[in-house]
């Protein structure tokens, strides 16, 4: 009973933190576009706060740069349980065009922190991001919350 109640609460209020670990900024503005009245992310109870300490979902955009190798793990450890990591775009998945000889990226991001969902695209359309977050986010958070620590 309590779990079911917690599930409902967890599903209906999701706080999101956006972390750009070295991308081109394209995925970031597509997430900002999600806030616009046309997509209206907040009607689903999802708030983009950019504060890792109150985040349920960490959105990672960008291949991991030199500075982020340790800082990303620090941010991940600061987010409270249950938490879900969503990788947006190709950079966190494979390093995109940057992952070539001579660059200083350390993709994929799953080498550093566990990733729960992936959205490929360079950048993905806002509708694709929205669909993926809604399909994965609420249930994953509820399921993670039910796990015993």
């Amino acid at each position: 009973m309590l779990d079911a109640l917690k599930d409902v609460v967890r599903k209906s209020s999701i706080h999101v933190c956006l972390i750009n670990t070295g991308g081109c900024n394209g995925c970031d503005i597509e997430v900002v576009a999600l806030l616009s009245p046309r997509y209206d992310l907040e009607q689903y109870g999802i708030y983009v706060h950019n504060n890792p300490r109150e985040a349920d979902v960490l959105l990672i955009t960008g291949a991991v740069c030199e500075q982020w190798k340790e800082n990303l793990q620090r941010i991940y450890s600061k987010a409270p349980e249950p938490k879900v990591v969503v990788a947006i775009g190709n950079c966190p998945l494979t390093g995109d065009v940057f992952n070539q000889e001579g660059s200083s990226v350390y993709a994929p991001v799953s080498d550093f922190i566990p990733v729960d969902a992936e959205i490929p695209g360079c950048p993905p359309r806002p509708a694709e991001i929205l669909a993926a977050i809604l399909a994965v986010g609420p249930d994953a958070i509820a399921a993670k919350g039910r796990q015993k620590p």
Binding site: R38, G45, N90, N99, P120, G121
Partner: protein, 347 residues
């Protein structure tokens, strides 16, 4: 007027449509509609593929596309076709643009409709026909998948570089070794360094056998083998691409003809004929010790001293090479040294 606004809110909530939209959040369907030109991830039709590799060469993302080959079965051979990795694809549509098949193997938005004469392909290799060696068998014309890439003009076979997709089919079909050359146009400096390493080590290995060579008679042939492991290791430290390294090894061993000049001081009668003839000043006469000296660093191996000397002090030999089998792992260079057939004695 707080009261009236409260009433207004209550009234608004009482409306059914408002309450519905409040309870069931949904977004308008129009946001998922995409325009015609929208480039989604490319679609692949494996049945049209000719396995030319144009798409993989054109793709700017390193992990996006690769050619795979399905397994052979009893009826037919396996089909080769490209596979798009969505996690690496940047949806630029360039692969659809360069695909030379008709109908296209890869489609992406409307990019595959771009006119063919504008397709530009960034290639790593350039294929050229050596007119001197070409026997005009026209096998390459039949093997070529792209119309108009290889043409015949004035009884010459020519590759049109603007249409060539660098698939390499012509090279495989050519019966004459060296008539069609596939040149790697990237990493030119690295290729030069590797060629230097190979030529220098070949020369050193022959230098070690100098004693044996100087006793060769005119129609004798001296053979020995050279292991290439050390050279390959050094080449790999410069360039990581094994294909290019093997290509260089083969080209060097096929085309290189090393000339070797030996010098036998005991036969010398100090006539000093060679000193004036030498074009690079490598041969000098030392008055104090009464010897003719040859500086190997300056020597051009032009063979003039060999042809001038009446006593046979200078020996002139030619070395040729063969890499067999043509592989980097278990290949061995066979070296053949034999005396030159040039006429001797100043005329």
């Amino acid at each position: 007027m707080p009261m009236s606004s409260v009433i207004w809110y209550l009234y608004e909530f009482a409306r059914k449509s408002w309450a519905e939209s409040f309870a069931i959040a949904k977004t308008n369907p129009e946001i998922v509609e995409t325009p015609e030109r929208f480039r989604d991830f490319p679609q692949v039709f494996p049945e049209y593929c000719i396995a030319c590799g144009a798409c993989t060469a054109a793709c700017p993302a390193p992990n996006a596309i690769k050619l795979i080959r399905s397994e052979d079965n009893a009826e037919e051979e396996g089909q080769t076709y490209p596979v798009i990795n969505n996690r690496g694809c940047i949806r630029c549509g360039f692969c659809a643009e360069v695909c030379p098949t008709d109908p296209k193997t890869i489609t992406c938005g409307e990019n595959h409709l771009i006119r063919e004469d504008f397709t530009i392909l960034p290639t790593e290799r350039m294929f050229v026909i050596d007119d001197y060696l070409c026997i005009r068998c026209k096998k390459c014309l039949k093997a070529c998948q792209v119309e108009g890439a290889i043409t015949e003009e004035d009884n010459k076979i020519i590759i049109d570089q603007s249409k060539c997709i660098a698939c390499g089919n012509c090279l495989d079909s050519c019966p004459v070794k060296g008539a069609i050359k596939g040149i790697y146009i990237a990493h030119v400096q690295e290729q030069k360094d590797i060629i230097k390493i190979i030529v220098n080590s070949l020369e050193e290995s022959i230098e070690d056998k100098r004693e044996d060579i100087s006793h060769l008679s005119d129609d004798e042939v001296y053979k020995f083998d050279l292991n290439i492991d050390v050279m390959v290791d050094r080449a790999r430290s410069i360039l990581s691409d094994d294909d290019i390294i093997l290509d260089i090894f083969q080209k060097v061993t096929d085309r290189l003809k090393l000339r070797i000049v030996t010098w036998d001081d005991e036969k010398c009668n100090r006539c000093q004929l060679c000193v004036n003839e030498c074009p690079s000043g490598a041969i000098t006469y030392n008055k104090e010790e009464d010897v003719v000296e040859r500086d190997t660093e300056k020597c051009l191996r032009c063979s003039i001293c060999y042809q001038t000397c009446p006593f046979g002090v200078a020996g002139y030999y030619i070395a040729r090479f063969l890499l067999d089998p043509p592989s980097l792992d278990d290949g061995v260079i066979h070296i053949t040294v034999k005396a030159s057939q040039l006429p001797i004695g100043a005329d």
